[in-house]
Amino acid sequence: MTYLATWGGIAAIVTTATAGDVLQSRAMKEIGDLGVIRKLHGIGEVLRRVLSSPRFMFGLLFMALTFFCLMATLSWADLSIVGPASASLTFIANAFAARILLKEHVDQRRWLAALFVFGGVVLLAR
C-alpha cells in the first residue's frame, strides 16, 4: 500500500507539473515575445496580456496543485525518493507532452538532452 501510495503521489506530481508547464508554454506562445511587447507597449501591457490569459491562469492552478501533491506525498513518502523521481520524470513527461500537445519538434538532440538531465537529476538528488 505504501509503495502504491508513494508512486501514485509521484504520478500526481509529474502529471500536474507537466500540465502546468505545457499550459504556461502554450499561453506564452499565444501572447508573443514578452521582450518585444515590453519594448513596444511597456511593462503594463505585458502584465495585462499575461494576467488576462485563461491558459496562464490554468497553468498557475496546476502549479499550485503540484505544490499540494508534493506536500501530501511527502507526508507519507521519503524526500530522497519523491524529489529525484518527480523532478527527473517531469523532464521526460514534458518532452512527450510538448511533442504531442505543443507540436514541438523533439529531435534526437533534445531526447538525448532530456535523458542526460534525467540521469543527472537522479544522481544529484541521491
Binding site: D33, G35, A98, R109, R110, L112, A114, G120, V121
Partner: protein, 143 residues
C-alpha cells in the same frame, strides 16, 4: 538566438538556484517546524533570507515566462537545468553540504545535456508562427 536570449536563459538558472539557496538558508535559521506548531511558519516572512529568496524566485518566474514566449518548452527546461548544478555548488560552498562522487557525475551529465540542447534550434513549435504573427500585428509591422 541572440546574446540577450542566452542571458535570459542564464538568468532563469541563476535566479532559481539563488532563490532556493536563500530559502534553504532562511529555513535553517528558523529550525524545524512541527505540524503542531505550524503557526511558526508565518514568522518566516520576517526573515531577510526568506524575503530575498521569494524576490529572487519571482524574478525566476518572470524570466522563465519570458523565455517560454520565444523558445520551446523542450529547449528551455534542459537549457536551464544548470540551476541544479548551481544549487549543488552553492550548497557545498555556503551550506557546507557534502557533494559525493555520484553527485559530481550527476553535475557532469546535466552539463552535457545542457550543451546538447543549447547548440540546437530554440523554436520549432507550430504555435510560434501564431505568436510572431500577433507580435508583428500589435507592433504595426515595425518588428
Amino acid at each position: 538566438m541572440t546574446f540577450r536570449k542566452y542571458l535570459i536563459l542564464a538568468a532563469v538558472a541563476i535566479f532559481a538556484a539563488c532563490g532556493d539557496f536563500c530559502l534553504a538558508r532562511g529555513m535553517r535559521q528558523l529550525g524545524p517546524v512541527a505540524l503542531s506548531n505550524w503557526q511558526r511558519l508565518f514568522t518566516v516572512v520576517f526573515s531577510p533570507w526568506i524575503l530575498t529568496g521569494v524576490c529572487l524566485l519571482m524574478l525566476f518566474f518572470s524570466t522563465y515566462l519570458s523565455s517560454l514566449s520565444w523558445a520551446d518548452l523542450t529547449y528551455v527546461l534542459p537549457a536551464t537545468a544548470l540551476s541544479y548544478v548551481l544549487m549543488a555548488l552553492l550548497g557545498k560552498l555556503f551550506l557546507h553540504e557534502n557533494v559525493t562522487a555520484s553527485r559530481w557525475l550527476g553535475i557532469a551529465l546535466i552539463t552535457i545535456g545542457v550543451g546538447f540542447v543549447a547548440s540546437g534550434r530554440s523554436l520549432t513549435s507550430g504555435y510560434a508562427n501564431l505568436a510572431n504573427h500577433k507580435t508583428v500585428l500589435s507592433s504595426g509591422g515595425k518588428e
